[in-house]
Amino acid sequence: MSFGGPEVCHTKQERLTMSESLQSAIKEICEVVGNDRTQMMEIVEQVQDRFGCVSSEAMDLIAQQMNCHRVEVMSVVSFYSFLSEKPKGTVVIRLCNDVIDLMKGANHAADAFRDELGIEFGETTPDGKITLEWTPCIGMSDQAPAALINDEVVTYLGSDGARNIARQLKEGTAPSKLVGRLGDGNNANDLVKSMVHNNIRNAGPVVFAEGIVKGDGLKKALAMSPREVINDVKNSRLRGRGGAGFPTGMKWDFTRQADGDKKYIFCNADEGEPGTFKDRVILTEKPDLMFEGMTIGGYAIGADEGILYLRGEYAYLRAFLDDVLANRRDAGLLGKNICGKGFDFDIRIVMGAGAYICGEETALLSSAEGMRGDPKNRPPFPAQKGYRDCPTAVNNVETFCKVTRILEKGPGWFSEIGSEGSAGTKLLSISGDCHKPGVYEVPFGIKLREVMDLCGAEDVQAVQIGGPSGRLVGKDSMDDQICYDHLATGGSLMVFSRKRNLLKKVLNFMEFFEEESCGYCTPCRVGNVLLRKKIEAIVNGEGEPADLEYLQTLGETVKTCSRCGLGQTSPNPVLTSLESFRDVYEAALKPALKDGSQPEFDIRAALRPAEAIAGRASSHFAE
């Protein structure tokens, strides 16, 4: 799938044929998925792909064909950043503007694109060929600056590289031809052909061990009863690797025991937390471990269907992953009567379309059901009522890999690795100011200092642990352990050296949350905007002492009153930096204005439009 689209046509005749072909194309697309309402994402993604947009007319046609309300189609199209009602260029350039990319010079690439294409971000070239956009982290922070050109990833993008790409695109070169030297490992596979690098810096004993035999873990699992499998997972003390750290065995037990004949296993490959990219490396190098873990999970909870929810940014891996699935079917590891043990189970892939919130498990299920990625109310939890109201276990990519290894090598082997409260290894995605950014498989319990030594980080001022929704810590935390009880992380570690302006990083994180809030509940939708505005004022030298108290109270309100995990963690960049780096804030503040004015209010700017219209200056506030 690609997220660009062909040129828009102009003459009346062309428009007529276009609308006929639109109609027949939509009919066909909908029929392929059996006019199934829950496949709405697939449908609109295909329409976007073929026509460059999901136009108003297309929405009507889809609604007719699917026998649903137009608003059901529209709510999906308007939600995801990869879908649009207005036509986009045949080629869409999406340049990452997360902190790491900006630190590594994304702005130079941005200027080159602007200059060479003659358009601003958010615009399309007049010939309708190329659209330029910003995007949050695309999971390439260790090779930043990075961009997506339709589905193709370009990495280490400097100013010259960007200019070169823009020129070639203008000349009509296909995005797939822009890929430079191919990356290592499976990145060079015929079905991937990307310039992405794995950058596996530390191969640990669990996920990146040598000589793992495909099917070993599964065969052992199938020789046991589902209950025994769950007991093994429980005894291994495995906890979720996606961020929340819920004990996997317990989750599976709940799902197994929940009422319902039909159950589902979901693998969460949305990997949207900025600075996280370890799942991408697993998907590239160890997809069998992951699929096998899903199969074992399916057996354990009593599911016959598994779904991999793959973020739209990783569409370049889709064909490769489909092929891995096909090979597993051929090897009797998927499909009917797996390993001759009478167990039926298969896996399909559902694509996301650029929305961070879809990593939240209930939003992910909404999205997979063909709706906006709105989180659902809890309870009921997915284990009771998940995908299509059936009991569903959602786990992270890495968690499934761990399961396969636990079944293969035994729970005791696994639980002996790591620390007392946190068993096993953890994959870290390290980026920012260090010599060796990349993926590190380390045992839990490792000290932050040791990790900094491993990745060659010198002159560390701060580390953002667990991405924006995690914590910003400084020197005081260097001897703390990486584990669920101390420095918890879904995998992202961003290193900031002493030369970085930390408040600007906090600002960037808050801009991210403001953009990614689904908007359902007020504390998150409005609160994050207010937090961002105040941080922005402080960065611009308009902050004053009372602002710190304001940030603290507002941040706590947003955390306690928000409906889902996004809003419950989004104030963390503010709150944790206030805790660890209060001095940085204080140094940026000015004393309060004596006359009680708000420093952010700019009367001159506020009057400018009216003065221009009236042709006179304000009598109260002269220039």
């Binding site: 006359d595 004015s597 209010f601 009367i603 009216a610 304000s618």
Partner: protein, 186 residues
């Protein structure tokens, strides 16, 4: 008897509904006058501050330069400022124009070309521009975006009893009692 504390009030970008609500304390206004003197306020039509005030009650946000001037004046002269009503605290109805440009607003209101409303007869499309007229701000600002505000009384209008209870508590230095009925808005 010691001099009574003074209270000032103003209506900026509001509808005067909140001032009506102040008056809606009924006969308690007599008690209020025992407690305070009114300074600058539409209630007594004093146009300029005569001295320092204990409390300033603000209705409406800021939609033009004159509002900003008034508000700054209040901040300068009052020890405590209370934003009264939703217009003052959030911009309220006037802030509905905030996603339009000033030009669009003026055109909408005055241009006959738009032929939007039956009330507009303005064949020459004149947009009023007497030097005496305040200039609009780019958008309507809640009062706390312009100066520091000490207390907020939401509601459209803020209920009379809420205003009364808060004012008396403040003037008598007692804790304010706002039972549920006075701070629920549906």
């Amino acid at each position: 008897m010691a001099e009574k504390p003074k209270v000032a009030t103003t209506s900026m970008a509001g509808c005067f509904g909140c001032h009506m609500s102040i008056l809606d304390i009924d006969e308690r206004i007599l008690k209020l006058i025992d407690l305070v003197d009114f300074d600058k306020s539409p209630i007594d039509d004093i146009k300029e501050f005569t001295g320092r005030c204990a409390v300033g009650l603000l209705e409406g946000g800021c939609c033009n330069d004159e509002n900003v001037k008034t508000l700054k004046d209040f901040r300068e002269h009052c020890d405590i400022l209370i934003a009264v009503g939703d217009c003052a605290t959030m911009g309220g109805i006037p802030a509905l124009r905030n996603n339009m440009s000033v030009k669009e607003c003026l055109d909408e209101a005055y241009s006959t070309d738009n032929r939007k409303g039956p009330a507009v007869h303005n064949p020459d499309n004149i947009i009023p521009n007497d030097p005496e007229l305040p200039l609009l701000l780019d958008k309507v600002y809640p009062v706390q975006h312009v100066v520091k505000i000490d207390y907020f009384l939401p509601g459209c209008p803020a209920p009379a009893d809420t205003i009364w209870q808060s004012l008396v508590a403040l003037l008598t230095d007692e804790p304010v009692e706002l039972p549920y009925e006075l701070i629920k808005y549906d």
